[in-house]
Amino acid sequence: MMLLPCPWCGPRNVSEFRYAGEAGTRPEPGQATPEQWRRYLYFHTNPAGWVRESWYHGAGCRRYFPLERHTVSNETRATGESR
């Protein structure tokens, strides 16, 4: 059970959180081509390394926050602009 550093609550068990996906920017729906839109919906980089993710502290402060996580070691680091 890894710890996640919630920027509001401090370190908590990961079971209190919900993974809300790889953080990405939603394209402007009016302007995006179908291809760009579907790239946004369905394509993820899934690197073996640092990845920027969004997490939701559902059993805690109930805030969404960005987090950088290393997918190999599960090391985490705050993004510095979480709150």
Partner: protein, 1208 residues
């Protein structure tokens, strides 16, 4: 031998191997009791293990080996002893050399048939040469059809005990712990490290697998015993050390999450401790390694540590005439111990000068030993001391890969790979005198404490629950690292196998010959050899046999031990019961306030997610008829409800729903559909506008939580600039749908201040008013059932009262309660879809019959790009109404609709056609499915909804539905989704007189979701328990307190006014308790009955501020309880994973976390010197949480205390 003589012999045999008192013995000779072994009685003293008591009586054989059924005796005299697995009562696989024997215990041998003495399966041993390597794999593989028969044969041979299906369920426990330093192993190094860490200020958890602390000091000489008493004395005298004996660390996971199983507890099977250790000191000691030679498993061949345990701990003479093979000091000490207690030491063979054994002779008992010098010595005991295995499991689980040191003849940790939070001490770290090892561990303990303090400082800086005065106190100079002395590795001869072959894995009966054979067959890697031969896969899990296995594979492959490498140590380190892993089961359930009525009226319960709902009250068809003909009431409390406030709510609704919201007037209700970004239907429901900036959104029951998170996600991450506050109020309201042509009449009898005239209160409108004397009810005129209906949202504590009032006031109208099943029939008759049933994870909105709702001319809404695409490419499945031609056949839901493949006709998209899946009939494929189906009591026929390919979706088309039994039936696509009243006339039926408001109603007492313990009383309009308890630990229901939620910007003016930041609690001037429950979120608790005035006071405070702040009364939406007493933190630690220490959550701390798997607000609110906690959760789970806390508190003698009126 006759029975008579057998008995006489046995009687004289009793205790014949028990020695006189030994200085370090752990048995209590002042008491003697009896237990049974294979039906015969034996004496024992307290402190004896099963095996030591039997060995004292002269027994030498405790089991038969797995494959060859060879007799097995003591090998290690420890938990790992492979020959000492026994059955105790109905408990199989008990470690007989570890488990303490108890009076009256019924112990039996395992894996013997028909008896330990005469075992027919031992024929396997004679046929040993036919049981080749991989025997089980090779022999029983083919032909496959014979596998069931093989299984029956194999079951006979399984080396395990008997599990009884009649064994009663045990009570297993669980708790969380947050030690600064966890010390795994209570030998001299572990004791020293624990004391050093605790002296340095750390909270220490010391875990020892055996029954006493001390490790090998316990079976040592005078100096060892003196050190033992000194170290255990220090442990007892040093504050901050929690000692767990007969407990073992099972594994280490991410961020030092450690599982510890605690055994031997009164009244509890086992307890699993989930510990978050800031640092771990791994001090498991060394495990003595068996030696491989011919006959090495003969009873009477023992390790030196086994002999020393038997003599010094249990005062048992291991044999009468001994040969000792010694490669180290411990072997020499064993020889000295034997001589001291009068065993005839016939020969000490010194391996350091080339001495060796060749084979052991004897079958049930050792008879003689053939030595390397050619001599044969008669003896009944052969002691081997040939080396050590370092159990590096915990280090491996931290990422370390041990390396082989040939000079020391064992694997040692590679310090370069160890993370900072894992520190080895004692034998796995190196060799030295006991004094050197203790010094080293002392430094390691100090270092561990220092590193833990550094970690704690980092954590403490980020938790909001500490007081301002707590902030600075733990930050220490982290650079001031402790100097840890180096431990030398002592030279040790490399001894794995003698000149002969013998057993390597005693549990799995794998010999060195088998390993050679496996290598010859091509299995060169030790990981493959392990799996092929099953070596290291038995109960000791490699702790005895891994290194020998590696060494023998190395010798067979012509490589070195270092090149061969070791197998991976994985958790669990020791076996654990499934009961301990499961622990107490936490499954939160939710009940509506009307549950007592449902139970009293024999509702059939339906489990819907966490909700327990009435499925029906006996006859769903009759319930349907009552609604269609008169009036019915249904409890729809689980419908998700979100209270939305703020100037930007309309913007939010416009973004999240596919339809338009900007023009919804006050007092109006609209149906809305939400899609995800991929256009797939996510949820639906109606949302009403109660005021200019106040809306109430409803969601599906199952989607409530997800929609709330969804809404928050858009507000928090995409539109933080919008002023909207969302509060879940699902259980703040009891929701009752009153449906049927006479519903207006019934509601009219109870409603006050609401004009029900159909002209003024039209379809899809909302009003607020008083119902049955209950103020602040929300009334929606909507119609899921298709009938005229009113949905009443009643402040939850009065829900039962309003429900009962409806049932009573409508008795002359024939009002019937209806359940979920009748509602499903009614809505299906009306053709209303259920998201998740008539849609699935791929159903985009146009495929859900929602074309009319989707407004592609809106600038943006979630899902729009995909829906625009779907609209352009019209080839998508459609939701259609279907009626089987035979009205009596109801095709089960999920029945497939099939059609011929494209070659035989219809113009269908060739792409989908080529992908068409055949369903058993050549030439046919799936074209859709039945999503909902029921027999309609109104129409007297089967009706369905289904998803269908567009080409088949034209009304009137006949399609083939394949039933699960393979029959095909024909169904016709209908004109409308609705089978009953497609024109919607029934919404507007006018019947009865709605203005009968002849009497005023009293609202009755408000009710908590937690049933009050007797005696009961009424306080401030609430029914409460008047029980008084003087117990040390109490729990009381505090639900009647007013609970007001405040939302405002973090760090803004409102926060200033409230005076409490997130994470803290304080009492204000007016005697209210202000809790910083979330970032920008406060909960204000005030005396019972002051909800309205407290809300007004807070609204007044918010009004004058230049920021967006809202106030919501949640008194009815939440349950509140108080734990009080010195052990309340211990209780909470059994259900809550947050650190409850003063360092993290001191008095005044407020935090939200999972308690018994329920999201709960916890507030530390001590009263005087007694610690206490307030717990606050969703109302519907109040009884669940209360019961879970009572269960967790049983061991502390918790009692229920009644409601206290003495302030908050």
């Amino acid at each position: 031998m006759t029975q008579q003589t057998a008995r006489t012999t046995a009687a004289t045999a009793i205790d014949r191997m028990r020695l006189g008192p030994q200085p370090g013995e752990v048995i209590d000779r002042s008491a003697t009791f009896r237990f049974r072994w294979n039906g015969r009685e034996y004496p024992a003293h307290p402190g004896d293990t099963i095996v030591s008591a039997l060995a004292a009586a002269g027994e030498r054989v405790f089991s038969r080996s797995y494959k060859y059924h060879r007799p097995r005796g003591v090998l290690t005299a420890s938990y790992l002893d492979p020959g000492a697995m026994v059955q105790v009562g109905d408990e199989p696989n008990v470690r007989g050399a570890h488990r303490l024997v108890e009076a009256g215990m019924d112990v039996r041998s395992q894996n013997t048939w028909p008896s330990l003495r005469f075992d027919v399966k031992a024929v396997n041993g004679l046929a040993g040469r036919f049981l080749s390597t991989g025997f089980y794999y090779k022999t029983f593989i083919k032909p496959e059809r014979l596998w069931p028969a093989y299984e029956k044969v194999l079951q006979r041979f399984v080396h395990a005990g008997q599990v009884s299906p009649d064994t009663p369920h045990g009570y297993y426990d669980k708790r969380y712990a947050h030690p600064d330093v966890l010390v795994a192993g209570g030998g001299p190094a572990g004791l020293s490290a624990a004391v050093a860490a605790a002296r340095a200020g750390a909270q220490v958890m010391l875990v020892e697998e055996e029954h006493q602390l001390g490790g090998h000091l316990r079976w040592g000489g005078e100096a060892d015993l003196a050190l033992l008493s000194e170290l255990t004395g220090l442990v007892a005298a040093t504050p901050g050390i929690e000692v767990l004996t007969d407990s073992v660390v099972l594994g280490r996971y991410d961020d030092n999450w450690v599982a510890v199983v605690q055994r031997n507890l009164p009244g509890v099977g086992e307890r699993l401790i989930k510990a978050r250790a800031k640092t771990i000191v791994a001090a498991p000691g060394l495990i003595e390694r068996p030696y491989v030679f011919d006959g090495n498993d003969t009873p009477g061949v023992m390790l030196s540590t086994a002999v020393r345990r038997l003599i010094n701990l249990h005062a048992v003479r291991p044999g009468r005439r001994a040969v000792v093979l010694s490669a180290n000091a411990d072997g020499d000490t064993a020889a000295a111990d034997l001589a001291r207690v009068g065993v005839d030491v016939a020969r000490v063979v010194d391996a350091r000068t080339g001495g060796d054994v060749v084979r052991a002779l004897g079958r049930k008992n050792l008879r003689a030993v053939e030595l390397g010098d050619g001599s044969t010595v008669e003896c009944d005991l052969l002691v081997t001391a040939t080396g050590w295995t370092a159990p590096t499991s915990l280090l491996n689980m931290s990422g370390d890969k041990p390396v082989y040191d040939p000079r020391a003849a064992r694997f040692v940790p590679d310090p370069s790979q160890l993370p900072d939070d894992m520190l080895p001490a004692g034998g796995i770290a190196g060799d030295g005198t006991v004094a050197q090892l203790v010094d080293h561990a002392d430094a390691v303990g100090r270092k561990a404490a220092r590193r833990a303090a550094g970690t704690a400082a980092g954590w403490h800086a980020t938790v909001p629950t500490r007081r301002d005065t707590d902030k600075a106190d733990t930050v220490q100079d982290r650079d001031d690292e402790v100097e840890v002395p180096e431990l030398e590795m002592a030279a040790h001869p490399e001894m794995f196998r003698a000149a002969t072959h013998g057993i390597v894995d005693f549990s799995e009966d794998v010999s060195s010959k088998d390993l050679h054979a496996a290598v010859k067959e091509g299995y060169g890697s030790v990981e493959l050899v392990k799996r092929y031969t099953t070596a290291t896969m038995g109960p000791p899990q490699g702790k005895l046999e891994t290194v020998n296995t590696v060494a023998i594979v190395a010798e067979a492959t012509g490589s070195t031990v270092a090149q061969t490498g070791t197998t991976t140590w994985r958790p669990p380190y020791a076996p654990v019961t499934l009961g301990a892993l499961a622990g107490r089961i936490f499954e939160p359930v939710r009940y509506s306030p009307m549950q007592p009525w449902h139970e009293a009226h024999s509702a059939a319960p339906l489990v819907a997610g966490q909700w327990i709902r009435p499925d029906h009250y006996g006859d769903p068809d009759a319930e349907v008829r009552a609604v269609r003909e008169g009036v019915g009431i249904i409890d729809v409390t689980p419908i998700g409800k979100l209270d939305l406030r703020g100037p930007d709510v309309a913007k939010l609704l416009n973004l999240l729903y596919v339809n338009k919201w900007s023009k919804l007037g006050i007092g109006r209700v609209r149906y809305g559909v939400m899609c995800a970004d991929d256009g797939v239907v996510m949820d639906d429901g109606v949302t009403g506008r109660l005021g200019a900036e106040h809306y109430l959104m409803s969601t599906t029951s199952s989607g409530a939580a997800a929609v709330w998170e969804w809404v928050e996600n858009w507000l928090q991450t995409e539109h933080p600039e919008w002023d909207v506050h969302v509060t879940p109020v699902t259980t703040a309201y009891a929701s009752i749908n009153v449906a049927g042509p006479r519903s207006r009449e019934l509601v009219g009898r109870l409603a006050e201040g609401v004009d029900l005239d159909p002209e003024t209160f039209g379809y899809m409108q909302v009003r607020t008013g008083t119902v049955a004397g209950v103020e602040d009810c929300v009334l929606w005129r909507i119609g899921f059932t298709g009938e005229l209906s009113y949905e009443l949202h009643v402040p939850a504590a009065h829900g039962l009262h309003v429900w009962e009032a409806l049932a009573e006031a409508g008795s002359d109208l024939g009002v019937a309660a209806f359940g979920v099943e009748a509602q499903r029939i009614l809505r299906l008759e009306k053709g209303h879809l259920i998201v998740g049933q008539d849609t699935d994870g791929l159903t985009q909105a146009y495929s859900a019959g929602l074309d009319w709702a989707i407004k592609l001319d809106k600038d943006d809404f979630v899902g729009k790009p995909e829906l625009a695409w779907q609209a352009q490419h019209a080839d998508y499945p459609k939701l259609v109404g279907l009626q089987p031609v035979d009205p009596a056949v109801v095709p089960p839901e999920a029945s497939q609709i099939i059609t011929e493949t494209c070659s035989q006709g219809r113009s269908i998209n060739p792409e989908t056609c080529s992908q068409g899946r055949s369903i058993n009939t050549p030439g046919s494929r799936i074209a859709g499915r039945i999503t909902s189906s029921r027999h309609s009591p109104t129409l007297g026929r089967a009706i369905c909804l289904g998803q269908l390919e567009p080409a088949l979706a034209t009304p009137g088309t006949e399609v083939t539905v394949r039933l699960p039994d393979g029959r095909d039936i024909t169904a016709r696509v209908t004109e409308h989704l609705a089978a009953v009243d497609p024109e919607g006339h029934r919404q507007h039926v006018v019947s009865g007189d709605a203005s009968d408001d002849s009497h005023r109603h009293s609202r009755g007492a408000a009710r908590s979701p937690i049933a009050p313990a007797e005696p009961r009383d009424e306080v401030h309009g609430w029914e409460v328990s008047a029980r008084r308890s003087t117990a040390e630990l109490t729990i009381s229901d505090a639900t009647p307190l007013a609970k007001i939620a405040v939302r405002a910007p973090v760090g803004g003016a409102m926060q200033q006014a409230l005076g409490v930041p997130f994470g803290r609690m304080a009492r204000d001037r007016d005697g209210a308790l202000v809790i910083g429950s979330g970032p920008g979120e406060w909960l204000v608790l005030a005396p019972a009955g002051t909800g309205a005035s407290t809300r007004q006071r807070l609204e007044g405070a918010a009004d004058g501020l230049d920021e967006f702040a809202t106030v919501t009364d949640l008194t009815h939406g939440r349950a509140l309880m108080r734990l009080c007493g010195a052990r309340s933190a211990d209780l909470l630690a059994k259900v809550c994973g947050v650190d409850l220490s003063d360092a993290v959550t001191p008095e005044g701390a407020a935090f939200r976390t999972s308690v018994a798997r329920l999201v709960t607000d916890v507030v530390r609110d001590d009263s005087g010197t007694a610690p206490g906690y307030l717990l606050h959760c969703e109302r519907s789970s109040g009884q669940y949480l209360f019961d879970a806390l009572l269960d967790a508190g049983a061991e502390f003698g918790i009692e229920i205390d009644g409601f206290s009126t003495a302030g908050i």
